[in-house]
């Protein structure tokens, strides 16, 4: 049988792999045959994620992606040990929700360090000569928040918009190296973040009802997002670059 998304023996780095969308993506890619290198800030969680992957030949590292100076050494070390990369998924992120008046510069910077600068530097380091195989594919996990506005989301939304804008430019520059780069923009997904949202507002609250009426296919499962990432990271998506793909149950269409 023909398998459209065949990732057999493709070496893929998943950053932010210890929970939520990142972890589900790692598991999904391993089910499709990829050899993964997981990176996350929490040692215990990333080691746990490693045990949940299918197949063998995987590895895990713990690192704080907001420490931008350390990214070059991390990527160098990974490539030396595991060989050049075929893909990278960047799923590290902070779901910051802060009123504008309390969004002090250090809080803006803190979120941007993880959500945007970490992504930017990872791309820069992975896309260096000798660190990737021909046809490298990169997928960043953005958010529908980059396309919509809401109270308390100024920092988060702008950090995700920055990812999307950067990707449009990077795609053109990296095309010369035959590298494709895209983002996915999930809507509200059943992660820890949504659990907190429900805890705060209640499942029967107007806020939750309003959300699910706009996101009319319901709350996304992490698997829904992982599937979209699996497609974009695969050679099957070779003609797609520089885009932000909403995975949003209809949210951005109404």
């Amino acid at each position: 049988m023909y398998n459209l998304i065949d990732l057999t023996d493709r070496r893929i780095l998943v950053v932010g792999a210890s929970s939520g969308i990142g972890k589900k993506t790692a598991i999904t890619l391993s089910n499709l045959g990829a050899k993964l290198v997981l990176v996350a800030i929490d040692e215990e969680q990333v080691m746990q994620a490693l045990t949940e992957l299918s197949g063998d030949g995987h590895a895990a590292y713990y690192a704080d992606v907001s420490k931008l100076d350390a990214i070059e050494g991390l990527i160098k070390g990974i490539v030396e040990k595991h060989g050049p990369l075929d893909g990278m998924v960047y799923s590290a992120g902070l779901g910051t929700a802060l009123p504008l008046m309390q969004s002090k510069p250090e809080k803006v910077l803190n979120t941007f360090n993880v959500n945007f600068f970490g992504f930017f530097e990872m791309v820069r380091q992975v896309a260096r000569k000798g660190r990737f195989n021909p046809g490298l594919r990169i997928v960043g996990v953005s958010s529908c928040a980059s396309l919509r506005g809401d109270k308390s989301k100024s920092i988060y939304s702008s950090s995700k918009s920055a990812m999307d804008s950067a990707v449009r430019c990077m795609a053109k520059e990296l095309a010369e190296k035959e590298i494709c780069i895209n983002t996915v923009a999930p809507a509200m997904t059943a992660t820890e973040l949504y659990a907190k949202f429900v805890e705060k507002y209640g499942e029967d609250s107007d806020t939750n009802r309003e959300l699910t009426s706009r996101q009319y296919l319901g709350i996304a499962q992490t698997q829904d997002i992982a599937n979209a990432i699996a497609f974009l990271i695969s050679p099957a998506a070779r003609f797609i670059t520089g885009i932000t793909m909403p995975v949003d149950g209809g949210l951005t269409t109404c």
């Binding site: 929700a97 802060l98 009123p99 008046m101 309390q102 109270k151 308390s152 805890e199 705060k200 806020t207």
Partner: protein, 74 residues
């Protein structure tokens, strides 16, 4: 920090005129005490007092004095 200073901090956080709040002020009577004000309170308590507020604790607040008490114990 005196209660008056803490009340001033709440007024500044919620952008209320000075003297709007007293310890006895019922939060439900403050028009500006909405979901954004509650979010601001979460950030204030975490940043300034090292207290992590949960939704249930916030729901339990009836007057400004309830918040002051939590600030005192921090």
């Amino acid at each position: 920090m005196t209660d008056q200073e803490k009340i001033a901090m709440l007024e500044e956080t919620w952008e209320l005129d000075e003297g709007t709040l007293t310890a006895d002020t019922v939060l439900a009577d403050v028009d500006e005490y909405d979901s954004m004000a509650k979010l601001s309170l979460i950030v204030l308590m975490d940043d300034e007092f090292g207290v992590k507020l949960t939704g249930d604790v916030i729901k339990g607040f009836e007057t400004v004095a309830d918040i002051l008490k939590l600030m005192e114990n921090a």
